[in-house]
Symmetry: D2
Subunit: 359 residues, 4 copies
């Protein structure tokens, strides 16, 4: 249940509503979203109470009967697809976005050669890890601040916006200073203090799905960020755990299709972590383009065999060029068909025109 207060409502107005609900032993929280105050209630609200609130509280504009546990991220809250802006790149309907770069930033030379290829391929955003969460304490942990500075210098040279991972609350500020989008990694998807912190950092957030997160858990993680005041959130599927040892993870494209029916946020796909194997990255990138994802996140390296991290899943720079050409071909063909028929099923999720509540 979401109670939307009128524009101009005050803290006191919100507290009054929360107070009424507390009378009925219902714990509610206040969130601020797009300049308005909302009161969120985890559970349902009886119809007579909904009516009572609307009749007795002039500050209440409307009561949105959203039944999913996530509220601000739901299509019930906002029926049209959201657009997230990173630098000058728009991610959302009408543009398939390619983010590419090395798993870990290793050196200026490595990053520069990669960025040149990313630019040449026509990709949109440069990725690169400076703080690396590694399974073993004895693995390379990233260049840290030095890496961030390299990333900023190189990306400016090529005019590419950047995305990099942030691994704890303490470094949110510095990462936000040097880069254009903050990535919350799969293993931190339910690191709630971190979600809250990136929700207040004033930068777009790329939220990876945890390796065993249900779609609902994923959307609730995004809800933490939105509830903290930041609605520039992109979801990224990167494979879930399965019983088969052949691929590193199991890419859940059915989950991507399903989550797009539940949320207005853009959803992209990371075929590199999903498979862990170079030769499988391109087929899955093409699949993501065809099934209506909003973009992909791909690892590439000038010399994957020498990469300090995840070399086996990094594609080469020539492969990146081919891959981008491939996904553009698929997207263009489907778009043309879509235009010629005036309507296309794969994009139907974006076209839904439920009565929009939150414009």
């Amino acid at each position: 249940m979401l109670i939307m207060l009128r524009r101009g409502s005050t803290e006191q107005d919100a507290q009054q509503v929360i107070g009424h609900l507390a009378w009925g032993e219902m714990a509610a929280s206040q969130v601020r979203h797009r300049g308005r105050r909302l009161v969120c209630l985890e559970h349902a609200l009886a119809l007579e109470l909904q009516r009572w609130l609307q009749e007795n509280c002039p500050q209440v504009e409307r009561v949105l009967d959203i039944k999913t546990p996530y509220k601000l991220t739901s299509v019930e809250y906002q029926s049209h697809a959201s657009e997230v802006v990173v630098g000058q790149v728009r991610i959302g309907p009408g543009h398939f976005c390619v983010m590419a770069g090395p798993c870990a930033i290793e050196s200026e030379d490595q990053l520069d050669r990669t960025a040149a290829a990313v630019k040449q391929a026509g990709a949109d955003i440069l990725r690169g890890g400076a703080f690396k969460p590694r399974t073993s304490p004895y693995s390379f942990q990233g260049l840290g601040l030095e890496g961030l500075k390299l990333l900023q210098r190189v990306s400016r040279h090529y005019g590419l916006p950047t995305v990099t991972e942030v691994v704890d609350c303490a470094s949110v500020e510095v990462v936000a200073e040097y880069t254009d989008m903050l990535q919350v990694g799969a293993r931190n998807m339910q690191n709630f203090p971190l979600l809250h912190e990136v929700g207040r950092a004033g930068k777009p957030v790329l939220l990876k799905r945890g390796p065993s997160a249900t779609l609902q858990e994923w959307l609730l993680a995004a809800e933490y960020i939105l509830a903290a005041g930041n609605d520039q959130v992109i979801l990224c599927e990167r494979g879930i755990k399965s019983f088969d040892p052949t691929t590193r993870n199991c890419l859940d494209l059915g989950g991507v299709a399903a989550v797009r029916e539940k949320t207005h946020l853009p959803v992209i796909v990371d075929p590199s972590h999903a498979t862990g194997k170079r030769s499988l990255v391109s087929p899955l990138a093409l699949a993501a383009a065809a099934m209506g994802a909003n973009g992909i996140l791909v690892e590439c390296h000038p010399c994957p065999e020498q990469a300090l991290c995840d070399g086996a899943q990094s594609i080469t720079l020539p492969q990146l060029l081919e891959l981008v050409k491939g996904v553009q071909t698929v997207v263009a063909a489907l778009e043309e068909m879509h235009h010629s028929t005036e309507r296309h099923f794969a994009y139907s999720a974006q076209e839904r025109e439920l009565p929009s509540l939150a414009r």
Copy 2:
């Protein structure tokens, strides 16, 4: 290890080799494949023994050092992609095959209307279940023989080859009599007597992956069919079990990409069982077309709400038309790009030219 005997070798020739191996306490089996006798050994054979066999057994043509537990299905055994012929339809490289039809055959009217749409859409093969394996003993179990006869009559009228499931050894013969391809369902993937029986039925076989089968278990199930003398086998991924309750199963397209690097058999995708939800079928069908699968198997129904089985995942007949148009668009665009660049990564698995062993 696979020991290929010269053409014209006799039963006695094979038994002699098996006898030599038994001396070394190695249990070997004889298989016949494409008119030749082979001796299969599960484990490796020491190099000196390989040499000894070649020097002392004139009937041995060559010893193939195949390290995977599956032999005849492996790319080490045959490096070029196989083609399976169902009726006049060729499934394999160069043609994306669409198989469509109802989950269960319910009536002549239902099947006739569906087949007309399948034909009109430009799909290749008509599917329809007559013997239905159902989780509950109280669910509709299919029309049985009556269903097979309907399927044959309707398919002949529209000139469409057919595929239907066979659930036990006893009905292999009758199913083979009335249809063009035998489907082994996911729950029977490791029903080894059934695999052996369809291996001797003289009809192409569609082998679905079990809901928790590893790629290796899947290929070994196919090996049972090939070892029984039938190499007209198509693999079909239909989703694996996962922890997320949103979709019925989790479609493992990464597994499809990976298995294509391991086997020469065609691999198709069933997006209907993978998702269990009508609106998710088209996105995943497009994904399958883009990532290089050899085809799809889709459930459709003139009136899904009234279907006796799996209505929620059946698309409508108009949706089938759109879907086929979509996959054809994707395949054509990628093929054109492929031709213009003379080489395309998604199809690289088909192009590998390892020294072929089994022509």
Copy 3:
């Protein structure tokens, strides 16, 4: 929904009820259970229709509103724990049953030495595989009929009832002739023709849980057997697929505890297949004994390193003696505590005294 007809009702009586339901487009099936006819309806039946049937059909004794899709296996149908009798061994409340023996019967000497140890250890039932379903067509497939004969001869000598796997409908009769209990293996849990056939074989059935079967799917598989007229069914958990490669499967003891709240059938545990590793068998056997399972099924071998099948998970014969002593110690200690407090939680599932419907 389950409609129980009065004793002495005829085929015609049942068909009349089914006919009434068909009028309302509800497909019902007749089953016979413990000498009575029942009409099973997969879905719910409106209250007024329930009443109508009871008022207008004198052959209807009562309508049982069982909401789970499984009916005869449910605790709603029968609230007290069932007992299954194999030879003279009673499996169910009040006795913890140990079944032990080799994975595959290999020779008279191997089976004789094993059976002697099984007897000496105080175990109840001798297991041994004659028809082995193997992942690879090139692995040892069992001694077949010869194995069955060996099993019968040796078991009679030691006075031990036997259990062995049956892999297809065609061999149900011969397996039933030579052994005391038919095992349906994990990979055949949803081989519905086989379930139906063992349901008519007149011997107790040991039904293993499939490696990715939900509890509901497992109970519905048992329902097939009961609906075919056989209520001598024991469920056996043997580990489910998981993402962790360390153990062969993941033993789901929580599932065992949960399923005991849903069914009156005995439930036992197979720690050998669950782990695939000898050293882990005893800890899990003790766990099964402590948590209230009705028994265990364990693989042992006189010389596991030379076993033709699953040697790594077979315990030695001295280990079997220790294991049986351990589980007996645990069971005895809990029983004594239980008696002294007159009531013990772990066994509460057996003590539930819901108003029993089916005595």
Copy 4:
């Protein structure tokens, strides 16, 4: 590979060894453990290099050829079972430890009544959550600092040591001030900055297994804590994700048995989160006691229906008394049997006497 330096070695001594390795392009890290410096190398070291180091670096005492990626947590590093001391409670071989208390601390009354029962039952440690990581931002998030103070006050009154969860680096210090053991929750198992921080906090750590963590990932998470200088670590299995919706998670007791063969750290079991259902807690607690775990962590509440968090899985206080009596019965019976036979398999992991490296 682990290179142990002699006692009294200096920073310079360690850096010299790291420098030698860097020459060979091998990245090594220094860790300090139990007053000594060690140099850790993720990968293997060629035999001649091992010898070269021992001959040319007098500060090198020995080179331990540990092949697992975790080093300090492995049984290769320390063959005898570790003991962790929380307050006056010793967790490790020879004592089965019960930790119990509410999921979330809600009020003084609730905590006091619970603690009284925990004490009366003979349990060892009081648990209670003050900072609650919740899937939804709109759920109750815990009392925070106020909760910690309540926990300290109540626990001192009853003379019970305490354990509580810490959710971010910023609160490690305050949690360490008020409680006796820091819990790292399942969702933070790979929150590496947090692991590092609790490794420096000077308090014992309870490390829960992530819901989809392999045993190796779990041990590497523990390795982060040990490498930061803290070897007072207890592992806690709390169920992993599975496909079955009946239980909240799937308790992996086979994983517990397997991990005990790999590490010297104590391992306990949380049957509450594993099942999510009150009636299943006791059976699994008994199972944990029987299979050789070092203890259990259980949620209980004076009035579970009114609990603000996880009420469905909290047992009542009378149930706690019964449960503790049950596990004590099982442990005592097995111990007696063990003593009488002078050797018992379930405890064999503790008895291994490999040549100990790290005393």
